[in-house]
Symmetry: D3
Subunit: 66 residues, 6 copies
């Protein structure tokens, strides 16, 4: 009965990438813990780069610097 919440910055995650994340996380629960896929939830949240901070800075700023 796992619930997996994946938060990533909103920088163009494609539908195929979302499918791959869902499949990969679910498979991990099946392989490692023997969980059932039909009661494994994966919820992806895409966060604006203005709203994600690391090392005192917005990811927006970090992207502009690099």
């Amino acid at each position: 009965m796992p619930y997996i919440n994946v938060k990533v910055t909103d920088e163009g995650v494609s539908c195929e990438q979302k499918q791959a994340i869902i499949k990969g996380c679910t498979q991990l629960m099946v392989d490692v813990l023997g969980k059932k896929p039909q009661t494994t939830f994966v919820v992806i949240e895409e966060v604006d780069t203005d709203n994600w901070g690391i090392g005192y800075e917005q990811v927006t700023q970090l992207r502009n610097q690099s």
Copy 2:
């Protein structure tokens, strides 16, 4: 002082439905645990069906199959 986070797929939840969820969750905290409504928070998050996975699949796919 409860905090209740309700995540549902973003499939047209109406304003009235949101009110009903807020009222119902708050009443439950009052009835079952004797909590005060004025310090009971209910936060509803609507998740794109592409971003919610169950049984290896996106809800978008499941909706298309059914």
Copy 3:
């Protein structure tokens, strides 16, 4: 496919109260949104009163004052 996370202070929530919270939240999703109970998750988290703050203060302090 809702996921409901209920955070309350850890002040002796009984097994019966937990069951009532689970039943009540699930019923709300069925009644208001037409969701299926078998894919409705309710996860209760009990938080130490030292770890919950409101109005600048730990709940532990508030309980001692009242």
Copy 4:
């Protein structure tokens, strides 16, 4: 390695305010717990006032009453 999630109502939080929240939360982790800024995440989530309930009511309703 702290992870700080700040949920606020979506009522016009400016980019400068977001920066101040990120800097302030990160500094707090450095000052109080001696954590490293480069592994301190701050994630801000802005929630629609229709989706946030307190005291049985949507924040939207509370704003209209006051």
Copy 5:
């Protein structure tokens, strides 16, 4: 900069299983999204079976029935 939160029932998850979950989730972020492992957080939360509900029932009850 992903943050992955894995919630599972507290039913004897071993240290090796936790390592496998951390490695697997991190690898998925690297492979699918090109994220850096050193800024990928995986946080596992083990939830008491009394505190996890599905289909109106506590997991504790479901385990006893099966």
Copy 6:
């Protein structure tokens, strides 16, 4: 009406440190966003170092290496 969730590793956070985190986060919401302290929640979660991963590894392993 902010809700702030602070997750840190469980490595001996003292009661005074918890108070400082609660006060600091609340003050930040007051100063930056003009929020009311009495409806600002701060919830601290202490996570076992076995359950927190970064860079493919458990924090427990990282602490042993350094």
